[in-house]
Amino acid sequence: MTTDRGTVRSLDDPNIWVDTPATIFDAVPPYPPRTEREAEFYHLRDGEMLLNLGPQHPSTHGVLRIVLKVDGERVTDLDPVLGYLHRGVEKICENGDWHHAISNCDPLEYVASMFSEAMPVLSAEKLLDLQIPRRAEYIRVLCWELNRIASHGLFIGWLALDLGGLTPLLYGFIERDRIVEMLASLTGQRMLFNYLRIGGVNRDLNHDFLSRLGDWMSKAAVELENETRLLNENEIFVRRTKGMGVLDRDTALRLCVTGPNLRAAGVPYDVRRAHPYSVYPELDFDIPTRDTGDSYARYLLRVDEIRESIRIIDQVLHEMPDGPIMAKIPRMIRIPPGRAFISVESPRGQYSCYAMSDGSDQPFRLRIHDPSYFTLQAVGHLMPGNLIADSMAIMASLDPVMGGVDK
């Protein structure tokens, strides 16, 4: 049928698919390049082709689209396209209460969501200059470290899966299931906990949680040894990860990469020691650091971090004080106008939030800096020059979570 915009074919037309030109499957857009970078990227030299590691892919960590320019098997350039998981979380937070922001910010980093809950909570507490009861602080640290172990356990599994090993993922999930069930007995949910409150935590420790925690702690170190034994000395795994994706110190600092990725490059920066928050100054733990900055170092570093977290949990359990778990705050919080910047050490790096309040009961602005977002910048530096298989392994070793990248 002919409209004033041209001819439109009905979907029942049997010929509709016949003369589809093959050029519509090209990744090069049909308009001329709009920027210099576009011109550079979409200019294909002889033998290069554009490969779309699309949003639906078995091993991108969430919905991430990367357009790779490959020369045979070697990646020469890449263009990540973000935004497939954008949910407008920051805007939603502005329309609700400070309390509503807790459950809205939960799904940002869904793998270890206590850290993303900490964003509105810690920033509100800082704006109110609130003193949290000691017991609540210790419980928070306990939950944070458990989340860290769960997240790193999952990382090990994903890294192995992206390299082809099917079983370490399932071993990792067995461990994560125990931790997550433990947290369910404490917070009521397995994944998006909604547990931290402005002024403390929601519920106190209970007998079920403590018995599960005790069970788990008695076997934690041994289980960790067992699981890493499958991968640590495996020749294939080592040869796939050693020397791959080397992120040297200067590049990492320039790109604002933080967390285990930065510590594997040799910079001993950990928010828990650099800008202490909560009761971390009272706890005794080391910051594991490695020098090489390759994928193998990042893997070994996260295993070391699991050990440190187990140490922290041990201390927290021994020194848990009694007392209330919530500070005395009014039900409707009206925060005086002000700004606050808080940051926590999440399993992926420095997770920070810049909060502005305008005196009403709704946050004026919650700007959340997710570490995965900055880590993904490193992908543009690390992938070119490697083979496609390696590029997936490198991205897995950086451990991004797209929930936080797209917010």
Binding site: D162, G164, T167, R239
Partner: protein, 463 residues
Amino acid sequence: MSVISRPWNRLSLAGKIILPLFLLLIALTVLLLAGWQLGLIPAVIELLAEVVRSNIDIFRFILTATLTLLITIPVAFVIIYMEMKVIAFLAGRIGPNRVGPWGTLSSVFHGFKVLAKEDFTPTGADAAVFTVAPIITYLSSVLTLLVIPFAPGLVGLDMNIGLLYFFAVSGLTVVGLLTAGWSSFNKYSLLGGLRAAAQIVSYELPLLLAPVGIIMLAGTLSLNQIVIQQSGWFWDWYVFQQPIAFIVFFIAAAAEGNRTPFDLTEADSEIVAGFATEYSGMRFGFFFFAEYVNVFILSALTVVLFFGGWNAPIDPRPILEFFRIGSLTPAIDVSSMGIWLLWVLAIGVPLLVLLIALPLWLLKSGWSFLKSLVVAFVLFNVMAIAAVTIWAFLSFEVVVGLFWFIVKTFTFVFIFVWMRGTLPRVRIDQLMGFAWKWLVEIALLNVFVTAGAILLVQELARQ
């Protein structure tokens, strides 16, 4: 016709299948008996035999195709089931356990599912090549079944260039994979196809060089002869005389079969499904039948070349002579029994079933008599099959040979599946580097050392 439709509607689904079959059976029996009496049946049989004799080629073709399908498809189903269960057990899971007893029917239903899927050709794909590629791959795997000796006397064609034929035909896989990757009009498939071609071509060399030592020791290319020369005790197997060749051959076989750690052609965390991304339905099914049959064939070849084929690990003759049993063939001369055979079948079988049913019914208070009869019938069948199997095992060396062959082959299949569940995969350049820089050199070294050793032994024997 409500006289028929009403009772018909009362039957359950199983009844609706069994009743017509039963009636058909009765009708056929009556017809056969009538035909036998009237002398029709021998005439019809003679006519059919005449037809078969004159078109023997077509019938041979049909028979071969049927046998091929009958062997490869159950083997593929068994290997698929093993893969699902073994990988699950390694990972601490259980795997399929609901569909049949212990989940055995699940791979059968996977086969049906693959048949039932939509069969399309993607836009822009080269339709003829797209259709033919899985056929080539399947063919190259299945044609090799001709020369593998399954049991003494049970070999398709005992060619005196059997090993050469095997490698020649299985090398056609490259053509299939490459055409599949090319004709799919998909960059992922192209990458996968090229990777597959590179991998298989690189590992052809170690795969061919490793058995050269065996060929020198055995003096023949015929697989049947190689197995016969390994008869005796398990230390006569060639793996103890050529251990390095075995390791090289095993690694090369894993790479030839696209098995982890060398499965980057189907690496689903990188390029979705490699060359088979655009395939669905039975074409995809063909690729994966071809892969699983390939696993079986490579395990079979390993067993034939290195582990004695159908030979038992121990030679039973000295033990039997020690116990003075002699040759063990409990022969039952069925033809001399005459009418007594009919009595045994008509009365003995029900009597035995009753004999088993009675204690069950008496001791299990919750069971009705019918239920205990049914259970007894099943148990009787199991015992009868076991008895027949044991008799066959003792009487025919074909059965013994087949049994040992299957046990050894499936041990190696288990090892392949175990490796798949444990090891990550290698990169394409590491894979090719490993083949060209290490395996080929080691295989060549093995050839030289074997040749030197044979010459040395011959020199010493002459003196």
